[in-house]
């Protein structure tokens, strides 16, 4: 975890990020004032700009601290940053655990690389009090454990916890969690009872969404919220072009590089990948493609001024795309360096793994 500490120094930056104040700490404020106050605030039209439909987890830790000590933005920033850092630490741990077929040194180096990618496009996001790095690190960790590992549901507690964090931290996290739940259900179609566990985090996220709606919260995505409406209504084609251009600027080169790695690996190193104990890479790319498609669709169908919307959000909402791309790369680099080596006993397992899922080692279609 040592390589993750230097970028975390940004926690000493002044607590000034717009979204941290306007959304997450404002929500922490009404949660800290008690349930009755929070219920009234969520439905208060004066707070429309604050996205009161957003899930509560990213604000909850600061609210808990503020219910004990006087509200203070520096405290809130440190608390938010520590929670996000813990999600990144879990992502790093799960990458290391999943790459058990590679040498320990290589696996740790790759895991640290995946962790550092959490600062990639929005370096202010991890320690600035925002929720994007929190939910995307938790989401990526869940994908690593549930879709990259060969035997994901054998130790489901941590990945399900992370998927729940994703689903109850931000609306995008819930949408992403639905995609992972679908993919895991497909992988585990032979064992529907165990696969059903993966829908619990989705249930938690949906429960909040329903509750917030009942309390009167409104969403900018569905057109009744706080977004900035476009001065001129651009056509769908123009919105699509602007969206793809902005996405390419932020994640294009990385996705191209990761796709080359994945393509070469899939064509030439499949046998070595199986020997390294990893599932086919297509699962991770399916999760990434799903999230990217949802992102494009959201930008196309949302009511906001597309140029303003992209400028203020694209660097943050593409974090999961980046993280899953580097997860794919890390898997193939582990195969390239150590593929073909027989997988020894799993460092955290106490019995041989059972091939439960359709994409698991020995059952892969390749």
């Amino acid at each position: 975890m040592l390589p993750l500490l230097p970028p975390f120094l940004l926690v000493f930056e002044p607590a000034y990020q717009w979204d941290a104040h306007s959304i997450w700490w404002l929500h922490a404020g009404y949660f800290a004032n008690g349930g009755e106050y929070a219920r009234a605030a969520i439905g208060n039209p004066a707070l429309l700009f604050s996205h009161t439909d957003y899930p509560p987890l990213a604000s909850a830790p600061a609210a808990v601290v503020w219910s004990v000590v006087e509200p203070d933005f520096r405290t809130a920033q440190v608390v938010s940053a520590l929670v996000t850092f813990s999600a990144i630490a879990m992502l790093v741990y799960l990458v290391r655990r999943t790459l058990h077929g590679a040498s320990a040194r290589l696996a740790w180096a790759l895991a640290a690389g995946v962790g550092l990618a959490c600062w990639s496009t929005a370096s202010y996001g991890v320690a600035g009090g925002l929720a994007d790095a929190l939910w995307s690190a938790a989401f990526a960790g869940a994908v690593v454990a549930l879709l990259l590992g060969a035997d994901p549901l054998r130790q489901p507690l941590l990945p399900l916890l992370l998927l729940t964090v994703s689903a109850v931290s931000k609306n995008e996290g819930l949408v992403a969690a639905v995609g992972v739940a679908v993919l895991v259900t497909l992988r585990a179609r032979g064992e529907p009872r165990r696969a059903a566990l993966v829908w619990l985090p989705v249930l938690a996220g949906v429960a909040w969404a329903v509750l917030a709606r009942l309390l009167g919260a409104r969403s900018d995505i569905t057109g009744d919220g706080s977004g900035r409406v476009a001065p001129v209504d651009l056509g769908a084609v123009q919105r699509f072009q602007l969206t793809v251009s902005a996405l390419w600027d932020v994640v294009g080169p990385l996705l191209a590089g990761a796709a080359v790695v994945a393509l070469l690996g899939t064509l030439f190193l499949r046998r070595q990948r199986r020997a390294t104990g990893l599932s086919p890479d297509g699962w991770v790319w399916a999760a990434n493609g799903y999230y990217l498609a949802v992102l494009v669709w959201t930008y196309l169908s949302g009511p906001n001024d597309i140029e303003w919307w992209l400028t203020t959000s694209v660097d943050r909402v593409t974090l999961p795309v980046i993280q899953l791309a580097v997860v794919s790369c890390a898997g193939w680099v582990a195969v390239a360096f150590g593929g073909g080596r027989e997988v020894g006993p799993h460092p955290v397992r106490d019995e041989p793994p059972k091939p439960v899922l359709s994409g698991a080692t020995g059952q892969a279609g390749d």
């Binding site: 230097p6 120094l9 604050s50 991890v126 080359v260 790695v261 070469l264 190193l269 580097v326």
Partner: protein, 136 residues
């Protein structure tokens, strides 16, 4: 006679995959390097990147004045400031919520709260002052 040792295609692919894959990981580590550099600069130079420090000074000053002048539980209406209206509207709403006040948009209010700009006495000092008017 010279013997040349030919590498297998798999070995070449391994090298390419490793190089491009590590390249991608290094590419995404750029943000962490930037964050670390900024963190170090913030710790070492008290006047590094002044605007965020000024924002923080403004927020902390307004928050302190809000707690002192507006009782918790009051009905508060935000008076839109003349400059940077959206920014201050949202910050004052945030402070009102943190203080347990009810933010209202109509005439039924106990206090009107706004912000005025003041001259900073030092570079990292506050540049705003809270204006509170009791209505009810």
């Amino acid at each position: 006679m010279t013997l040349t040792k030919r590498r297998s295609p798999t070995t070449v692919v391994r090298v390419v995959v490793a190089l491009v894959g590590v390249g991608c990981l290094l590419l995404t580590a750029g943000g962490a390097v930037k964050a670390a550099g900024r963190g170090v600069a913030i710790l070492h130079d008290p006047e590094y990147d002044l605007p965020p420090r000024q924002f923080q000074a403004d927020y902390e000053t307004l928050w302190r004045q809000f707690v002192e002048q507006v009782p918790s539980g009051s009905r508060v209406a935000i008076t839109p400031p003349q400059t940077d209206a959206e920014h201050w509207q949202q910050r004052l709403t945030e402070f009102a919520v943190l203080n347990g006040c009810v933010v209202v948009q109509g005439a039924d209010r106990d206090y009107s709260v706004g912000v005025v700009q003041v001259k900073r006495k030092r570079p990292t000092g506050p540049g705003v002052r809270l204006v509170v008017r009791k209505v009810g």
